[in-house]
């Protein structure tokens, strides 16, 4: 029993030796990480949902897009650019037409869009494709998003 009794202080001493050291060290490490911006960012990544930034581009009335047109006539359509980038962005759109991989620009414009806002564009472009079907494409240079539709062109009367 005496042996056992003599072991107990050793075990307790070991506990006393480690935990008062480890606990303050952990607290200091946490406090230091909260002081440093990089540390705060890491905590934020673990604790809070970070926003996802993106841009959306879509035709309005997508079921009413022109599917046939007279060559040289006008193509009327509208589209919307949505800014979900979390900051103001100056968007430039480019409308191009083409067939068989060859295209040419038929319209463009640019505008600064506030975060969370959208920019609706209603436009009319001439149907000037060399071949048919003709692909009308709306793209945002500097952004990967693009949309398009196909038009079958008929000869003018």
């Amino acid at each position: 029993m005496s042996t056992q009794l003599s072991e107990r202080p050793t075990e307790r001493a070991r506990e006393r030796r480690w935990w008062p050291v480890v606990a303050p060290l952990a607290l200091i490490a946490i406090a230091a990480s909260l002081i440093l911006p990089a540390g705060r960012h890491q905590w934020a990544l673990s604790l809070f949902r970070q926003p996802t930034y993106y841009t959306s581009l879509a035709f309005d009335d997508s079921t009413e897009l022109p599917s046939t047109a007279v060559r040289g006539g006008e193509l009327n359509f509208s589209f919307t650019v949505g800014n979900h980038e979390g900051r103001s962005v100056t968007y430039r759109y480019l409308i191009s037409e083409g067939s068989s991989g060859k295209g040419h620009a038929v319209g463009q414009s640019k505008k600064t869009v506030a975060p969370g806002a959208s920019w609706t564009v209603s436009t009319a472009v001439p149907a000037t494709c060399g071949g048919s079907p003709c692909r009308v494409q709306v793209s945002l240079p500097g952004h990967p998003e693009m949309i398009d539709f196909l038009v079958t062109l008929t000869a003018s009367q």
Binding site: R49, T55, F59, T63, L65, D148
Partner: protein, 931 residues
């Protein structure tokens, strides 16, 4: 092996052992250490439950503990202080066996230095000290006759009983009532009360039940399990009642916040009244106060695992890497190793709490992935839940063709919880259901502890929570989680020898109702297990009876005479529950009959979904799956009327769809180091994972063989439990042999359910296979092997080495991430599509998969009629005028998923086909919509 497996024995044994027990001496005639002379052991341990051989296994070593072990200062008050209690203090019937179960306090628990001297207030001088006068009470009649009173019979209170409710208790009751009142007011005024709401609807009623004498004779974990399962059943059945009764009374939305809060109030008040009459004196608070520092640290480590799991999932959701989740997994592994290494020093209560936390951490790593609903089945479950919540009413007619709608666990139950906790819908499943299901492993552990030592039960637990289905699949199958809770409670109830047979059968019947209301296919496996188990037992008993009568042998052993719970009546009752709910009330049992018929006719068709199974035969290759699907799609295309619905095959054939498998993770620095010295890391990972699956099946076979050939081992368990374990494995074998079952009901999940019954058999098999290394070594090797398998199957080993398929709980890549993880841009695309015409029904096509097709069906749950469907985007099946959505995975990896023959294959998707033939009308970088 038998010693290790059997921490306890059946009640009856041979007379020599029985004599040893009664006299308080071991086989050698020495005074049994650890228990004071003059005390009958029956006061601590039930008569006939333990045999001297139990003390040979290393857990109860004769001579290991002597009087000198009881040195001053080792025990705190209330923890078996020498001389503190007189024999008369331990009068029969007063203290429940639960309080002195050997599972909780083993001699090894009383090791020198374990208990702090602080609480010991009397020096040890070898004599007993007087205790405050307490006159001995006469034993109750049942106890005097050696019988236990039925759980529903309340023990009469003696004149010397201390008052159960004093001023402090009244204060607690008043405080609770005030809190309940405050919760009522806040909930009805629309406040968000996640923690308080959960306490109000689930924890409080469970606590009220926990502290009644209904569960007399049960351990703490067992009480928790019964109480939580009972409350869940009450919530489902009660919810169904108000859902049925209130609409005719003019309340059209009976599952809205108001009715649910009132129902919860009625439930709490009823349970409180019940507790007032049938309250039990439980000393759980003193047990908490009596925790040793090492136990507190262990529980703290488990808690740390949970915190790290949550933080790690958040980091991954923010695309910030797997570091914290890896640390969480390392923490889980360390905790498990400490449990294995120090199991003798730990009480079952501490082990149970730690296991709960570890199990919860593993679940949360998976369930908290994604800011939306992520996973497979959970997408449809969530849609059904949204349907019920949107209507404020559950009805099968809301989605009549969807069997999921018959599961009250994902319709009424989450709606009730959601209305009270008032959090975003997905988190009812992602968090609160996981909090409930993490109890399942604890209940399974408690069940195994009835027959197995701590170490064997812990090793069995590793196989259970390390099973890939538990890690990656079950967190996304919430109906099955609740059903598994009832299966675990049923296992405990069936084997509760402290309850009379009738009470056990009533509990089994209640659990069967819970399983059926929660999940139909779990019920099929459950009923199959009961039926096959009963049949096996009946056959063996009949053979034994004939053999005994022929031999004129009238000797009866525990094995042959152990009381049965599951008779023909119990099986028929369970089947009737299935037929009444699945057949008549919801009419969802029809597919089962179809599957049975198909299983008979398609027996020759190999199953494709159990690639690791020893039972299944050859599997269909992925290429064959794709070829079969294309052939079926071409037939559908050709047979379509009018013919211009689809694009002609002459157009589609220009675009190929080659099979493309998911790439493995690149090697990590550690993996590259190993690779440089010649270790084939990828092969090692694959071999370890597949070897683990094969080993587990081999262990199960070896385990049953061990039970068949070792009479001594067999006697450790009730024969009924062994038949149930065998029956559960037979049921899984049926799943793997018959393709329809494995496709429709998942053989892996059936195996997970079977492990509740059979995991200790698996461990016995592993010990038996390592037996040539020696008795002690075999157990240690079995534990090490299980830990090694655990480290691999939870994903830690593949993650630190690389060269293996990525898992969703650790990566932002892989099949599960591609096709089960909902991106914000996909949600935005769905939202945009809602405003477009002719989308549903039938106007939408999306890649097969839970996060691509399913969301469209519930984007507006109020208008869902159950007829909505979304078609696949396989090129041959693309319709000319449909909407087609391409998801994040297809756009970023070029692959599309295909679920066919119960197998997931991926193929390269020809996006050019859509570009050439349709308009691209929406694009946000991670989702594109064509028209």
């Amino acid at each position: 092996m038998a010693d290790q497996l059997g921490g306890r024995r059946n009640r009856t044994g041979d007379s020599r052992n029985g004599e040893g027990r009664r006299s308080g001496r071991d086989n050698s005639g020495r005074q049994r250490p650890g228990y004071e002379p003059g005390y009958h052991e029956t006061d601590y341990y039930e008569a006939g439950r333990y045999e001297p051989s139990d003390y040979e296994s290393g857990q109860y070593e004769p001579g290991r503990y002597g009087p000198s072990d009881y040195e001053p200062g080792r025990y705190e008050p209330g923890q078996y202080e020498p001389g503190r209690y007189r024999q008369s203090d331990y009068e029969p019937g007063r203290y429940e066996p639960r309080q002195y179960e050997p599972a909780r306090y083993e001699p090894s628990d009383y090791e020198p230095g374990q208990y702090e001297p602080s609480g010991y207030d009397a020096p040890f001088d070898g004599r007993r000290h007087p205790v405050p006068a307490r006159s001995p009470r006469p034993p109750r009649r049942e106890a005097a006759l050696g019988r236990r009173p039925a759980p529903w019979i309340r023990a009469p209170r003696g004149p010397q009983d201390p008052p159960r409710r004093g001023g402090n208790i009244s204060l607690a009751v008043a405080g609770t009532a005030a809190l309940v009142l405050a919760v009522n007011v806040l909930l009805l005024t629309g406040f968000r009360l996640p923690a308080l709401g959960f306490w109000f609807i689930l924890i409080l009623p469970a606590y009220l039940l926990y502290t009644t004498d209904t569960w007399r004779g049960s351990s703490g974990a067992e009480r928790v399990g019964y109480s939580v399962a009972a409350v869940i059943l009450l919530l489902m059945v009660g919810g169904l009642m108000i859902n049925t009764i209130l609409p005719p009374l003019g309340i059209a939305r009976p599952l809205d916040t108001g009715p649910v809060v009132i129902f919860a109030d009625v439930l709490n008040a009823s349970l409180y009244a019940f507790r007032w009459r049938r309250g039990a004196d439980l000393s759980w608070l003193s047990q908490v106060r009596g925790l040793r520092p090492s136990e507190v640290r262990l529980i703290g480590t488990g808690l740390l695992c949970v915190v790290l799991a949550v933080l790690g999932a958040d980091r991954l959701n923010n695309n910030a890497g797997d570091q914290v989740t890896l640390v969480a997994l390392a923490c889980v592994i360390v905790t498990v190793i400490v449990l294995l290494a120090r199991h003798r020093q730990l009480g079952d209560g501490v082990i149970s709490v730690t296991l709960y936390l570890v199990s919860l951490a593993i679940l949360l790593m998976e369930s908290l992935r994604g800011w939306y609903i992520s996973g497979d089945d959970i997408q449809t479950e969530y849609r059904i839940f949204q349907l019920t919540e949107a209507h404020g009413h559950w009805s099968m007619s809301a989605a009549p063709h969807l069997a999921y709608n018959a599961c009250l666990s994902i319709t009424i139950l989450p709606t009730e919880i959601a209305n009270v906790v008032n959090v975003d819908g997905p988190y009812v499943f992602k968090l609160f259901f996981q909090l409930l299901f993490a109890l399942c492993p604890v209940l399974a552990y408690t069940f195994w502890r009835r027959y197995a030592s701590k170490l064997v039960a812990l090793v069995a637990m590793l196989y259970f929570i390390g099973f890939p289905t538990y890690v990656n699949d079950i967190p996304g199958a919430n109906r099955q989680e609740i059903a598994f809770l009832f299966v675990s409670a049923a296992a405990l109830a069936v084997t509760n020898s402290n309850w009379p047979q009738a009470w056990r059968r009533v509990a089994l019947f209640a659990a069967a109702i819970g399983v059926e209301l929660s999940h139909y296919s779990t019920m099929y496996v459950f009923v199959g297990t009961l039926a096959v188990g009963w049949a096996l037992g009946s056959i063996v008993r009949l053979r034994r009876r004939r053999a005994s009568s022929r031999a004129g042998d009238s000797e009866e052993t525990a094995w042959t005479t152990a009381r049965q719970t599951i008779g023909a009546g119990s099986v028929l009752a369970a089947i009737s529950v299935l037929l009444l709910w699945g057949g008549l009330a919801t009419q969802t049992a029809g597919p089962l009959l179809t599957d049975v018929k198909a299983a008979v006719t398609q027996f020759s068709h190999p199953s494709a979904v159990t690639p690791y199974s020893l039972f299944s035969r050859s599997t269909v290759s992925p290429q064959q799956v794709l070829t079969n699907y294309r052939a079926a799609a071409l037939s559908q295309n050709a047979a379509a009327t009018p013919h211009h619905v689809y694009f002609p095959t002459s157009v589609v054939d220009r675009y190929s769809t080659p099979l493309e498998s998911e790439p493995a993770m690149p090697l990590t620095p550690l993996g590259r180091v190993l690779s440089r010295i010649g270790v084939p890391v990828s092969t090692v990972n694959t071999d370890v994972r597949q070897g683990a699956a094969k080993d587990e099946q081999l262990f199960i076979v070896a385990g049953f063989a061990a039970f068949i050939f070792s009479r001594r081992l067999r006697r450790r368990v009730s024969h009924e439990v062994l038949w149930l374990a065998a029956a559960s494995i037979v049921t899984v074998a049926v799943f793997t042999v018959f393709p329809n079952f494995s496709v429709d009901y998942s053989a892996e999940r059936a195996l997970q359910e079977a492990l509740i019954w059979a995991a200790p058999v698996l461990v016995a098999g592993s010990i038996a296979l390592f037996w040539p290394f020696g008795r002690r070594s075999s157990v240690r090797i079995a534990a090490v092997v299980s830990a090694a398998i655990f480290i691999s199957t939870i994903g830690f080993l593949p993650q630190i080495l690389g060269g293996y398929a990525p898992q969703l709980n650790l990566n932002n890549s892989g099949v599960d991430y591609d096709f089960q993880y909902m991106q914000q841009q996909q949600v935005a695309a769905v939202t945009w599509l809602e405003t477009e015409p002719e989308v549903l029904p039938g106007g939408l096509q999306a890649p097969m998969g839970p996060t691509t097709a399913d969301p469209f069906e519930f984007s507006n749950p109020g208008s869902v009629t159950g007829t909505q469907f979304v078609d696949d985007i396989y090129p041959v099946l693309i319709k000319r005028y449909s909407w087609v959505i391409l998801s994040y995975a297809t756009l970023h990896t070029g692959r599309a998923p295909l679920y066919s023959d119960g197998q997931l294959v991926t193929y390269r998707y020809p996006v050019a086909f859509l570009e050439d033939n349709k308009n691209l009308v929406y694009n946000n970088g991670s989702a594109e919509i064509y028209k």
